[in-house]
Symmetry: C2
């Protein structure tokens, strides 16, 4: 249940690892302005359940989905959800948390208004429901095709429900939500014979629209319905047995959904499906053995659970999927996955996958990105894509660092030359995100772009990963071009103020400047200059030189962490949550910041800050995430951090060493080897790393290389109450920075 409270935006329902179905209760459906809070459909503080729908994002900052909401109803059927405060005014039911049971792959709750016990489980593409009705009431299942997470009149562009001769119910809907014109299909079967059915269109039809057939004389009137306000009610009479309902979804077609249903769930054995889901999770969660304080252990395994949900499968069992061009394609040799929250996940979530998941997982991710680029109407890699469709959400072209990270690590099976071409195409497509001006000026001018400064530094990092990959591939022209572009962060860094500042097209910085200004037109994305000024993961040494030395960066970071901020100041800016001074743990631009003291040769200061963050920002409770989990990124941050290292700059193959929060952890690596992490003297007072040993030998630098972990071995921390101010302080002991690497002529 971690994250189902305030703004974690996780859902409590049933899914399997990377499953296409996330079957979960929806407690409220909100219009756009309130949709942020109900992005997962469910909020822990709610008291009624509308029903159970089949698709959810885990921890997203925006909302959509909630497809195919099903509600069991005992007794009289109401067709509208009704008011929360008026029990019986609609089909929603009250519930109590005491009746809830949420396990990986299983969720159960009692719907008080109907005295119905509802249980959910899932396979990859099928949601399986078991409803135990009171024996003396008629049992019904309501399917509300209008219901959506984030709703408004007109969101459903088209929908249909059809009862087939064999009793299978199929249908589709096309919605105008976060992604435009998204189509999803379903196929539904019941364990009990159908006693009756009713199909309704609740949308008042335009006066000028009229069907042409005599009502009641075409099968389209009795066996099927099309429209924009559809409800189906399926009647079962009084039931002595529980009703098992299985619902497959498909991005392709009704027949695709039926094939998915047939392939994944043959009978109506709910317990067998539940056990299969449990085993799938057991296997995935066993990738690491953790010994830690019980609260931390609970937080970590839940984090791992949340890290293993997205990008989720977005294709039928035969490999067919709907691509960014809305057409049906077939994935050959990989699984097409989607729900790419790339602005978040390139940082730690996807790098974590390269460590703990088989390489095929990275193959799926990279090849899904690559085919999406080919099928994109604009020929560019996904930005924020789900179910194959682009939302244009957030900034940057962060599919690029995910691919570069995989390539530099040698993980995954894909054509690197083709990948580099796709990356370059994305980084040079002028109509996207003022890239034309960025390429011309060396920065995105703020004149017409309220996120100009953030874009400039994120583009520069992405560009640097292209240069890394191009150099390794021997494409020196590309490498040189993009290594030069990687320096563009300097163009928006004002050495006078020591801050990143929005710059105008005429070359002047915009005045007045307040590093604390956030929100629309601030020049920054979900943050301000306090967080963004230190975003040069490819060259923090360059930043230090610009600032005037190590201590200057340390002072800046301290000023950020220790700033006094009126907690109400950012109340109207979404995604600013979990503040420590001007550090915002609830959002991604801060995620690397605590590790930057390492780059200034003061790793003990990173160690302090990490304890400060972990203690204040995570706990194993519904409100245990301070911000959106962001499809695993918040969770991946905790996992890496607890193990003692974090991938500050994907593409370097380095993990920057912080400090561990586990007594022991063993990673069962996909290559069959094991990497042990052992911590001596872990306690609340021993805040510092006294000593670090890799495979029994002292490690004198503040980073680990990916290859060192993959080789198997042991990382041994000895904690201490006092800082070790001599460890890893020299420039050579610090993590990668491009300008130091250039100086050293090295290419590590």
């Amino acid at each position: 249940m971690i994250g189902t409270g305030p703004e974690g935006h996780t859902f409590p329902g049933a899914t399997v690892p990377f499953g296409m179905v996330q079957l979960s209760p929806d407690t409220q459906i909100r219009p756009f302005k309130q949709s942020y809070k109900w992005a997962a459909g469910y909020r822990y503080e709610d008291t009624t359940i509308l029903g159970f729908s089949h698709t959810h994002f885990s921890g997203a900052g925006h909302s959509d989905l909630g497809d195919f909401l099903v509600q069991p109803i005992a007794g009289d059927v109401r067709l509208e959800p009704g008011e929360i405060d008026t029990p019986g005014s609609g089909y929603r039911s009250r519930f109590h948390h005491e009746t809830e049971k949420a396990e990986p792959g299983y969720y159960a709750v009692t719907l008080d208004d109907y005295a119905v016990r509802a249980e959910l489980t899932a396979t990859t593409r099928v949601g399986v429901h078991r409803y135990t009705f009171p024996a003396d009431k008629t049992a019904h299942l309501l399917l509300d095709m209008r219901s959506s997470i984030y709703n408004y009149t007109g969101k459903v562009l088209w929908s249909s429900i059809r009862l087939r001769a064999d009793g299978t119910v199929t249908g589709m809907r096309e919605t105008r939500g976060w992604a435009p014109a998204r189509q999803l299909y379903f196929a539904m079967r019941f364990s009990q014979p159908l006693a009756g059915h009713e199909l309704y269109d609740r949308e008042p039809l335009p006066q000028e629209y009229k069907g042409f057939a005599t009502p009641g004389t075409s099968p389209a009137d009795t066996q099927a319905i099309m429209g924009r306000g559809l409800i189906g009610v399926f009647d079962f009479g009084e039931l002595e047995q529980p009703l098992v309902v299985k619902v497959a979804i498909s991005p392709v077609s009704e027949d695709g959904a039926i094939a998915n249903l047939d392939a994944e769930v043959s009978g109506f054995d709910f317990d067998a499906v539940r056990e299969q889901a449990r085993q799938a999770w057991e296997k995935e969660l066993s990738v690491v053995d953790i010994k830690a304080d019980p609260a931390m252990r609970k937080s970590l395994y839940t984090a791992l659970y949340h890290a293993l949900m997205a990008p989720s499968v977005a294709m039928d069992e035969d490999g067919r999927y709907r691509g960014p061009d809305y057409q049906v394609h077939k994935a050959e040799g990989f699984n097409f996955v989607s729900a790419f929250s790339l602005w978040d996940t390139y940082r730690a979530e996807q790098p974590l996958m390269t460590l703990i998941e088989p390489p095929s997982r990275t193959t799926d991710v990279v090849r899904s990105l690559l085919v999406s680029q080919k099928e994109s109407p604009f020929g560019i890699l996904p930005i924020w894509q789900f179910q194959g469709l682009e939302t244009w959400c957030m900034i940057g072209y962060h599919a690029v660092p995910e691919i570069a990270d995989a390539y530099m690590k040698g993980v995954g099976n894909f054509d690197a030359k083709e990948a580099l071409d796709a990356m370059v195409a994305s980084a040079t497509y002028a109509p996207y995100g003022h890239l034309g001006e960025y390429m011309k000026l060396g920065y995105v001018p703020v004149d017409n772009d309220g996120e100009a400064a953030s874009k400039t530094v994120e583009y520069a990092f992405d560009d640097w990963t292209i240069s890394r990959m191009a150099r390794k591939l021997g494409r020196m022209d590309v490498a040189d071009t993009f290594e030069k572009r990687a320096e563009n962060w300097r163009n928006v860094f004002n050495t006078q103020t020591g801050f990143l500042q929005p710059k105008k097209a005429d070359g002047s910085f915009r005045e007045p400047f307040d590093p604390a200004q956030a929100g629309a037109q601030s020049g920054f994305t979900e943050g301000n200059s306090w967080q963004y000024s230190w975003y040069q993961p490819q060259d923090e040494a360059g930043l230090i030189r610009l600032l005037g030395g190590d201590q200057k960066l340390v002072d800046k970071l301290d000023a950020m962490f220790d700033a006094k901020v009126d907690p109400k100041r950012y109340a109207d800016v979404e995604d600013i949550a979990g503040m420590i001074g001007q550090y915002i743990h609830g959002n991604e631009p801060s995620h690397h910041l605590a590790y930057l003291y390492d780059y200034a040769g003061q790793p003990w200061r990173s160690q302090e800050r990490l304890k400060q963050i972990v203690d204040s920002q995570y706990r194993p409770a519904p409100d245990g995430l301070v911000g959106n989990d962001d499809l695993g990124q918040m969770s991946a941050w905790l996992l890496f951090t607890a193990f003692g290292f974090y991938p500050v700059a994907p593409g370097t193959n380095e993990y920057v060493i912080g400090r561990p929060f586990v007594e022991e952890a063993t990673l069962h690596l996909p290559n069959g080897k094991q990497f042990h992490m052992v911590t001596d003297n872990l306690s609340g007072t021993n805040r510092y790393v006294g000593k670090v040993m890799l495979n029994g030998k002292p490690l004198t630098r503040s980073y680990l290389r990916h290859e060192e972990i993959m080789a198997g071995g042991e990382l041994h921390f000895v904690m201490s109450a006092v800082p070790n101010k001599t460890w890893a302080t020299s420039p050579e002991a610090r993590p990668f920075s491009q300008s130091i690497a250039d100086k050293a002529g090295e290419s590590r």
Copy 2:
């Protein structure tokens, strides 16, 4: 231009035989209640042109299509069509008929408001436009994605326009019209370089809908647009050359449209495409050489032109099409065609195709029907299908007689057993058209069906064609079942009144009964008992026996033709037009009636009535069709009738002899043979057939067999001022009737 006036509903624009594109001017776009009159988009009496759209029905009684309306604009661009009475209030332009030129495959008009000469031509899947702009005004092309024939707010469910990097404009729209959720795609290219473009969404967006990307920063904002109220404007500056625009359509995808464009029109040579279209029509229209009075000759060749439009191609050049299940399929070994106005065309239009077109045409028709049955959500053959989608319009299952007619004639290449199964599936699917009650009671009860009597007799005829085909295939069980069902017309014939009457489920006829009652709930479809009582094409002899003898039928027919009817009585009933007493030539239930005198042994009376009809109902002028051409049926009636025979009962392989209206006609049969029709003494006063000879020998019966025509030869009529009351009067000389065939033990 014949039929572009009043209610002919033909369009004057450019198309090729059975082409997917019908590129034609639209003069008004009307809401549903007025849409009947503007079913072809154009009405001759209108004075302004909105633009030129790419899809039209020829002569339909309902409306839809008008996809992708393009209007050339010289000077200032207005985004709304504006008012007819206020020149310059919108993008519509005045025009004069003197500037129009309409030829097969070519249409031209001058748009007065812009001084633009507009010329249109087409290939199967591409509309080619040539616009000559005044040299001193800027040239623009407006694409109004909202525009539809029969329009209302909300008709466009979704649409998109995209400007591709290579200058191709592509897009799609999905509409809720006559067919629900119909998708159509386009690809457009210009002969002149684009100087600019603007994309608009004119639909006020729901307040709660909001995009998530920063406006102007995603390519979706500048290079493409999605929504429900889209307009694209394409700017060309001042042009010295004409602008040629080519627009391909596809039911499958934008890429499909591009492939169609590439396959069919390589450059921008308008005149070459026009010449190609002209030749295609020349070839098709040369199938018959006609010598006749000039007015009749014009009417006949235009009728032939109109008969060669539908069912039109509905697949991409690679064979892919969108089926009744909305999925993409591929036609293998045939062309997928659609626009099946089956209630009309089974009578004479499709039988005409079996005579004059190569067998592959019938293959296309039958196999398109058969794959549609397989892909139908309900497993039945099309009723009124266009672009692969079902509208449930009109009654009966008249794909059945079209298939049976083809099979009995041995025309077309299809699997007869599979076809019979599809026919039986359609005729036994209980949820369609009260077929469940029909099968139980032997008639459709009027209690819940306002068209019950019409349905009963049409089902019975369709059933008879199944029995014919089943018997020939050796499926005796099916033959017996359906031969019995073919008798069901008797169950709604009231021998007390001598009329077909709506019967209730309790077995009693509904009272009161007025054979002149038409319209909703009358029990009849677009007609009344005066026309429907004599609809037993499979057994008119049975009717005669029920009535009490030949003269009784003759008296009934005379009473129908000679009835005094207040012309205002049916003003509110659509499709009742072209009345001669209670005979309604403008609608199909009357089309066989003039030939029924032959069945009563009085062929001279048929001859009289045919002259009465032809003289009053056809003329070579815009108002020269008294009713909707109905995708060729009105035209096919005239062609057959003018040749001297008509297929009263498809499935018999017989054509009932009337009288000719041509001096000579030579059918160039698809088997390479020729069938000559020669008429001696043709004149206004020689109303009767004095003598008929087939291949030089007197023909003593009032019907021809299909095989006799296909063998080639000569049919020689000698007209006379006095009736020949001895010719073809005996029972044996009359056309087929099942009860006589039964009696005779014959199976002709």
